[in-house]
């Protein structure tokens, strides 16, 4: 079963995304902050990370850079989740090492298609 690590500080968004992904047959682990996301990526070794970019003190781009800098987790693809589809956000995400970029509210079918594409 595909394991997805959701890094999201908003409880409702985290719960909603977890339930929707689980309904699609994916296993989900959650982290509520950038540092916790980095730690859990090393511990649970997910197949993919869904990273909210607006995370408070350590933003999602910085957390992605840390995941990509760790040799153990560098291979894990990261999809950035942003509230708005700005070209600057997309550029920052790709520069930080994200493989993809998705806007919230997520289109679950499109997100699943991107997850499948990246882990395969």
């Amino acid at each position: 079963m595909t394991l997805v690590l959701v890094v999201e500080d908003n409880e409702m968004n985290r719960d909603m995304l977890t339930r929707r992904l689980e309904r699609k047959g994916l296993a989900v682990e959650c982290a509520v902050s950038g540092p916790e996301g980095i730690r859990m990526a090393g511990e649970v070794m997910p197949d993919i990370v869904l990273m909210d970019v607006a995370l408070g003190e350590m933003d999602g781009w910085e957390a992605t850079r840390a995941i990509k800098a760790d040799p153990r987790t560098t291979h894990i693809p990261v999809i950035a989740l942003t509230a708005h589809a700005l070209e600057s956000d997309r550029k920052k995400s790709l520069e930080a090492g994200c493989s993809e970029f998705e806007t919230k509210p997520v289109d679950i079918e499109r997100l699943i298609a991107k997850i499948k594409f990246l882990i395969n």
Binding site: N13, M16, A54, H84, L86, E87, S88, V106, I108
Partner: protein, 461 residues
């Protein structure tokens, strides 16, 4: 005769003044004074030798020399126009005046000459013609001292004075004093006028400085308000979207669960919540983007891409509009070539224009988009509705929106207003120009200039 061609005294005087002096207010004022006294001074001055001659008081070479030395002043304007050497001519003119007075004193009674008071005019005119600074001031004072010394030498027995009947010169003495008085009065009036003008100028300058300060304060206040607005938008963007995302996401989740359980009525009601939330987010996104561009907080991030693949996401976005539209891509032969632009901004232009164009048509909700590539990265997009124009009035409304970007609001034009307005803001951000197409087909053409890759430009539309 209009005001420009009308021959005024000022224009006549300026005709003789070198152009370089006309552009400097101080030099122009001095040159005007020089011209004025050389134009009218000889008329006043020659009243004296003419009186001597006509009244048969003196009719020999002394009157002739006196007359010629005064008349010589009329040559100075022409010499000034011919040579442009104002300062040199001013020194010569002052010496001419001193020589004139010295001659009149020598020829008509020495220290008792009725023309001696004219000596007072020399320093007055000297510092009217020339500035009282540095070597010029020293040269003028030296010139004055030399002439006074020469006067004393002549009058105190240095040379033999020609015989003259001072009794016959009493009347001319009065005339001479009168002429001096008139001359001084003219100078005084001129100075009074200058003083008044300078005071008015000072008042206007103070008013301008005050207005400038007010403008600076207003600009500063506007900048602070703009920064506060941008900060508000940034924070509101997150605060508004987060709960809306939850509403939309949970409603979608519940729709899926209801569908799984076969609760069709429940799924239908949840669908309405989901659509309403999505429409509200769509509107909020547009308003926030519009405000962000207006506040100059929307950066341009250009990158190379291919229209052939990018247009797929535009088509997807158009299919998910509150009122879905079918985007039919009619790319040209050059579509496979990379194009440098801000693809997110271009996508927003396409989806918003498609949405607003569809509002002007009926019958079908299909919009065809054609790309034309220009030279050096320039390109244009042409949008054509495949439906028939709903009515001329609505097309006119659309044209009005595009022509008056600053006067649009959702309140006035409905959803079409904000879509068109946002499209225009994005078009201006990319420095594009809207060209209206054939009215009957509700089409539009937008031309975009080249954009440098990775441009860090931030512009307010």
């Amino acid at each position: 005769m209009d005001g420009k061609s009308k021959l005024t005294l000022g224009a006549a005087l300026d005709h003789f003044i070198p152009k370089a002096m006309l552009v400097d207010a101080e030099q122009h004022r001095r040159a005007r004074m020089f011209m004025l006294s050389h134009a009218f001074g000889p008329i006043l001055g020659n009243s004296l030798p003419v009186y001597l001659f006509l009244m048969d008081i003196v009719r020999d070479y002394r009157v002739g020399v006196f007359f010629l030395s005064i008349t010589a002043f009329w040559a100075y304007p022409f010499l000034l126009r011919a040579t442009g050497h104002y300062r040199l001519l001013a020194f010569i003119s002052i010496q001419n005046l001193a020589s004139c007075v010295l001659w009149a004193c020598y020829a008509f009674g020495g220290l008792l000459s009725p023309f001696l008071p004219w000596m007072l005019i020399i320093p007055l005119l000297s510092f009217l013609y020339l500035p009282s600074v540095g070597w010029i001031r020293n040269a003028l004072l030296a010139q004055l001292v030399c002439n006074l010394g020469l006067l004393l030498y002549i009058c105190l027995g240095g040379v033999a004075l020609p015989p003259v009947d001072l009794g016959e010169l009493q009347v001319i003495g009065l005339v001479s004093m009168g002429a001096v008085a008139i001359y001084f009065a003219m100078m005084a009036l001129y100075f009074a006028k200058m003083f008044h003008e300078q005071r008015e100028f000072g008042r206007e300058l103070n008013a301008l400085v005050s207005s400038s300060d007010n403008l600076r304060n207003l600009t500063s206040a506007a900048e602070q308000a703009g920064a506060a607005k941008a900060e508000f938008i940034a924070s509101m963007s997150h605060e508004l979207r987060t709960p809306l995302n939850a509403i939309i996401g949970y409603s979608q989740l519940l729709i899926e669960e209801a569908a799984d359980e076969g609760d069709i009525d429940g799924a239908d009601d949840l669908g309405k919540i989901h659509r309403s939330g999505s429409n509200l987010l769509y509107l909020i996104d547009h308003i926030l983007d519009y405000s962000r561009i207006e506040a100059g907080r929307m950066p341009i991030n250009a990158r190379a891409g291919r229209v052939a693949s990018e247009h797929l996401s535009w088509r997807d976005a158009c299919s998910k509009l509150p009122e879905p539209v079918e985007l039919i891509w009619r790319g040209g032969a050059h579509d496979a070539q990379p194009l440098v632009t801000d693809w997110t901004a271009l996508g927003a232009i396409v989806t918003n224009l498609v949405a607003s164009l569809c509002a002007t048509t009926s019958g079908t909700r299909s919009i065809a988009v054609t790309m034309h590539r220009g030279s050096e990265g320039a390109f244009s997009l042409e949008f054509a509705s495949l439906g028939r124009a709903e009515s001329d009035a609505k097309i006119d409304l659309s044209a009005e929106i595009f022509d008056n970007a600053d006067d649009v609001s959702p309140t006035r034009y409905g959803t079409m207003g904000i879509e068109s307005a946002l499209a225009l803001k994005y078009i201006h951000l990319l420095r594009g120009v809207i060209e209206h197409g054939p009215k009957a087909h509700g089409s539009l053409r937008i031309a975009f200039p080249p954009i440098e890759p990775d441009s860090a430009l931030e512009r307010a539309a």
